[in-house]
């Protein structure tokens, strides 16, 4: 057992800087992907809630489609397939785009159920009080929906963070690719993958706990307000 840790004592000084550089890329692509997912999802939800049936159907089709496709297939298609139609993306940006598209489907569900959780009377009361539909949305509906949506949104981010490991397969220099490269360099795959697992865990676990805490907090406030 002590042999196991001696390997870390010996190699960690060389491994750590490389892994931290790679972890930064992991954080970047998952964060950029998440931002893209938020924007796309907002668009999808706006379409879904529009008056035009065609837009509603289109939004639902896109969401259902993106939910049914594995991220890996999406990433490979974006990275290797798009050049055939004249659009070449680096692994980094293909990764961000893939994560954004996949994330959009999940975030759209969160947005939709969050907005649905606000009683219709809230909106009607706002309109009756003379607010514009935009004011009603930003001042009445959204603040209340946000507290419902925040915990699952954090979970979406954690999912994207984990999913970003697949970008290794389209040659993005993120954690998992660094781990693969290092494990064939040092022939210590067990040590390296355990370490990389711990790095992912060190980022994802606090976020998951935060999401749970947030959920408990916000639902407690909700009950106290008597809105349910």
């Amino acid at each position: 057992m002590s042999d196991f840790f001696n390997v870390y004592r010996e190699h960690l000084p060389e491994w750590w800087p490389r892994l931290m550089d790679a972890a930064r890329v992991t954080a970047e692509i998952s964060s950029l992907g998440f931002v893209l997912a938020l924007v796309l999802a907002a668009g999808l939800v706006a379409m879904h809630r529009s008056r035009f049936a065609a837009l509603q159907v289109a939004a639902r089709t896109v969401v259902e489609f993106l939910r049914a496709v594995p991220l890996l297939a999406l990433l490979l298609a974006l990275y290797f397939g798009l050049p055939a139609v004249g659009l070449t993306l680096s692994g980094y940006w293909a990764g961000v785009l893939g994560l954004g598209l996949q994330g959009a489907a999940y975030v759209a569900e969160v947005f939709r159920s969050g907005l649905d959780s606000i009683h219709r009377g809230q909106r009607e009361a706002g309109l009756a009080a003379g607010m514009s539909p935009f004011q009603v949305f930003t001042a009445v509906v959204l603040p209340q929906a946000l507290r419902v949506m925040l915990p699952p949104l954090v979970n979406c981010y954690v999912s994207l963070l984990k999913d970003s490991s697949l970008c290794a397969l389209i040659a993005t220099d993120e954690l998992m690719l660094a781990a693969r490269a290092m494990s064939s360099e040092y022939f210590l795959p067990l040590h390296i993958f355990v370490l990389v697992g711990l790095i992912y865990f060190a980022i994802a676990f606090p976020l998951s706990m935060f999401s749970r805490l947030l959920g408990r907090r916000l639902s407690r406030g909700r009950r106290a307000l008597g809105t349910t």
Partner: protein
């Protein structure tokens, strides 16, 4: 013509779909069995250490990417002499991750049932085992059906990750076809369509089952 290659592409991808189905079934079996066992211990034990150990297992499995688990099992364990075939590693890896997911689902499902259900079953003379089998589990399964459905479609998509450890499933064939035929967009489009044509019926089936069993009433 480009589409001439389509039949041979589809044949290869369907061969991959068979492996994907085997991986999915194997992993689902482990996930369901182990997940249920852990959930039962989790809910009924009064030993705090056991609950802590299960919580640690769940958090580790759910906060580390599945790809890392597969690499650990396939490359990591091979370096200390424990060798799995790619397919076996994929089944075990996805199964262990799934067990953590389903343990969470089942635990929440059982806790959502009223304690009185079990007490009443015991009061009318059922043994604890009968109470579990005839009263608690059926209701718990009905209650958690939507989550099980989500897990099932997630699992089907996650089998694609097995290609990273060279298990010959859909994406594995897709990638090797690309290097031999260069019909890149056609191949990946077919692979995506194939996944969608597996995932849609499965989630449709679960939706139907939910409606039939009146979940969410």
């Amino acid at each position: 013509m480009m589409l001439d290659a389509l039949p041979s592409i589809l044949t290869a991808l369907l061969a991959g779909a068979v492996t994907a189905a085997q991986v999915a079934f194997g992993a689902a079996l482990i996930a369901f069995g182990l997940g249920l066992a852990l959930a039962l211990v989790n809910v009924f034990t009064s030993v705090a250490v056991l609950r802590l150990a299960i919580a640690a297992y769940i958090e580790w499995m759910r906060n580390v990417p599945a790809l890392a688990h597969l690499f650990l099992l396939y490359f990591g364990l091979a370096s200390v002499g424990v060798r799995f075939s790619p397919k076996a590693a994929a089944i075990i890896g996805l199964g262990l991750v799934g067990a953590a997911v389903l343990c969470d689902v089942f635990s929440a499902g059982m806790r959502a049932l009223h304690v009185g259900q079990r007490e009443a079953a015991l009061a009318v003379g059922l043994t604890p085992m009968q109470a579990l089998r005839c009263v608690v589990l059926p209701q718990m399964l009905r209650l958690t059906l939507p989550s099980i459905g989500n897990y099932a479609s997630q699992l089907i998509k996650d089998t694609s990750i097995a290609s990273a450890i060279a298990a010959p499933e859909i994406m594995f064939y897709a990638r090797s076809l690309v290097t031999s035929t260069f019909q890149t967009p056609l191949i990946y489009a077919s692979a995506i369509a194939l996944y969608a044509s597996i995932v849609f019926p499965v989630s449709w089936m679960f939706n139907r089952l939910e409606r039939r069993l009146g979940v969410g009433r």
